[in-house]
């Protein structure tokens, strides 16, 4: 399957990646190749086979008790913040 440029730009926008025309064309070709490869899966007969939801067929979702075991690590949480203000992360103003 090949992607058209509009779909490519849409995917890029949803991922918040800015692409110029040249980059769009490069990504379009690359993504098209990946999709083509994945489409091989369409040849597999899956009639009556329930969708796979995990790789370990017998494992159950592990659960924890409702107790506080984490947090209180403000410095670590903020350690990658490019523009922190005291105890806060900051971002360019977003108001709806």
């Amino acid at each position: 399957m090949s992607l058209d440029p509009a779909t490519t730009r849409r995917i890029a926008r949803l991922a918040r990646i800015g692409l110029d025309d040249q980059e769009t064309e490069a990504v379009r070709t690359q993504l098209g190749g990946i999709l083509g490869w994945i489409e091989i899966l369409n040849e597999v007969e899956v009639e009556g086979v329930p969708p796979m939801v995990g790789t370990s067929m017998n494992a159950a979702l592990p659960q924890r008790e409702d107790i506080v075991t984490d947090g209180d690590c403000q410095e670590k949480v903020l350690s990658n913040a490019p523009d922190r203000a005291g105890p806060f992360f900051t971002v360019p103003k977003v108001v709806e």
Partner: protein, 484 residues
């Protein structure tokens, strides 16, 4: 009660469905061990999972799952023993992961129902489509800096239940009744505190309009309405807006809108260009959630008595009216208080005093039932004083008022103020004689057929005894004296 909008082309009915986000009461978050406590120092109740650090793996909180199951049971809903988690992808500054873990195709709770009661006493059933578990987002502050928004992730990752109703609601009043009933059930269950002004319960309102008998038309979603009053206002305003568009030959766009109570309008929140495409897919970090029927049964066995059942039981057990029972089950604490008062006493009289003078006094002093200076034991003791004839109903009102002021026991007040009911026949006869002598003219009119004057004589005798005479005895003695 029907609600129609009279347009120029005839009447329109409204179709409303509600999506309620209810914050789950739990100690730690849905997928991390960080605290859910409100009001901590910014970014302290945050784990590296909540902050979206790479490589961190979510582990589900069994307590939150139990809360969702309890809520499902309270909504008489289907419990799905297998459910799944999906990623809802979008970028926003309060969502560090870049996706919200939610349940899309396979929610933990399926169809249920809520019975609502309307002001005219009628009831209606509103269907519940589903309830699913998902993560709350962080909090943004826009007023701290001219160019930047500040981000606090303390709330990020706290468990939410999204409770979706069927589009069964047909009037703004029904929407309000639905929210009140849902909040009451959640509070009884202890699964959400239901405080809309603190944001722990928020509603998205889906509104459309149609002519009677038509299929549904395009709906708009009004996001994040944070009070019941605003929900009813938003519905009225949005429905009127849509009628105007249809009638002027236009087309309503399916979109997300915001309610501005100040301006009394709804307005578009996102341009179509930016319409969200969430690209849901199964969260590869989380296996399907499988719960045991035996565990569900165990949770069911431990559910508290819910409002509808409590109301029916109070009516039956204490012989009170449906209306009084409804008032008394509004909050669990009120119902408990009532039952303490009514136990072993006259349930009707207990209900009358509580819903009457007692609530009036609470309102006047601005106190909740938990803060009431008059406890259930003292109110009960006062009812005992009425029942055994120590005081009459009129004096009891005065005693109750004093109880609210001083916190004294009712008998103390009666003794201190000398309010004991006068049941001494001699004293009442004496007062009656005086009244009749003093009002010989009125007595004559009464004997001449002006029956209403009997009440006047009773009033005068009561006055002469400072309201303390036993009213039944006053009646009897006066009758005997006048008619022989």
């Amino acid at each position: 009660m029907s609600y129609v909008i009279e347009g120029s082309t005839g009447p329109w009915e409204i179709v409303v469905g509600l999506e309620v986000h209810a914050q789950v009461i739990s100690n730690s978050k849905l997928f991390s061990g960080a605290s859910t406590l409100f009001g901590g120092e910014p970014n302290t109740h945050v784990s590296l999972i909540d902050a979206g650090f790479p490589g961190m793996l979510p582990v589900i909180n069994r307590g939150c799952v139990a809360q969702a199951v309890r809520t499902g049971l309270g909504l008489k809903a289907r419990i799905n023993l297998e459910s799944r988690f999906d990623r809802k992808n979008y970028f926003y500054a309060d969502l560090p992961q870049g996706y919200q873990i939610s349940q899309f195709a396979h929610p933990i709770i399926g169809e249920g129902k809520i019975e609502i009661e309307l002001s005219d006493g009628s009831t209606r059933e509103i269907g519940i489509t589903r309830l699913h578990l998902e993560q709350d987002a962080g909090k943004l502050m826009h007023d701290q800096d001219p160019k930047r928004s500040f981000v606090d992730l303390n709330r990020a990752g706290v468990a939410l239940m999204e409770i979706v109703s069927e589009p069964d609601i047909r009037t703004p009043e029904e929407a309000g009744a639905y929210l009140r009933k849902l909040r009451q059930i959640l509070r009884y269950l202890g699964t959400c505190d239901g405080n809309m002004d603190e944001g722990s319960m928020r509603a998205d309102v889906n509104v459309s309009v149609r002519k009677a008998g038509e299929p549904f038309r395009t709906r708009c979603e009004i996001k994040n309405v944070n009070s019941i009053r605003f929900v009813t206002q938003a519905i009225e305003i949005e429905a009127a807006r849509q009628v105007e568009i249809w009638e002027s030959g236009g087309e309503v766009d399916q979109e997300t809108r915001l309610f501005d109570p100040g301006r009394g309008e709804t307005r578009s929140l996102r341009s179509k260009e930016d319409a969200h495409d969430y690209r849901y897919f199964p969260d590869p970090d989380l296996l399907p959630l499988v719960i045991e029927q035996s565990w569900v049964d165990q949770l069911k066995a431990c559910l508290p008595e819910l409002p509808d059942e409590k109301r029916a039981r109070l009516q039956k057990e204490y012989g009170i009216t449906a209306y009084d029972a409804g008032v008394l089950v509004a909050e669990q604490a009120i119902a408990d208080f009532y039952e303490t008062v009514a136990k072993g006493r006259d349930g009707k009289s207990a209900a009358a005093w509580m819903t009457g003078d007692f609530f009036a006094a609470l309102n006047r002093t601005g106190k909740s039932i938990e803060e009431s200076p008059v406890g259930a034991d003292k109110l009960g003791a006062m009812l005992d004083l009425i029942a055994d004839g120590t005081i009459n109903g009129k004096i009891a009102k005065e005693v109750l008022e004093t109880m609210f002021e001083t916190g004294e026991a009712p008998l103390e007040i009666v003794e201190r103020k000398g309010l004991r009911q006068v049941t001494d026949t001699g004293a009442i006869e004496k007062a009656a004689d005086e009244v009749l002598t003093k009002n010989a003219d009125k007595l004559e009119q009464y004997l001449g057929g002006k029956d209403k004057l009997f009440g006047f004589f009773v009033g005068q005798v009561m006055k002469a005894t400072q309201g303390k005479a036993n009213p039944a005895m006053v009646n009897e003695i006066l009758k005997k004296k006048i008619h022989g």
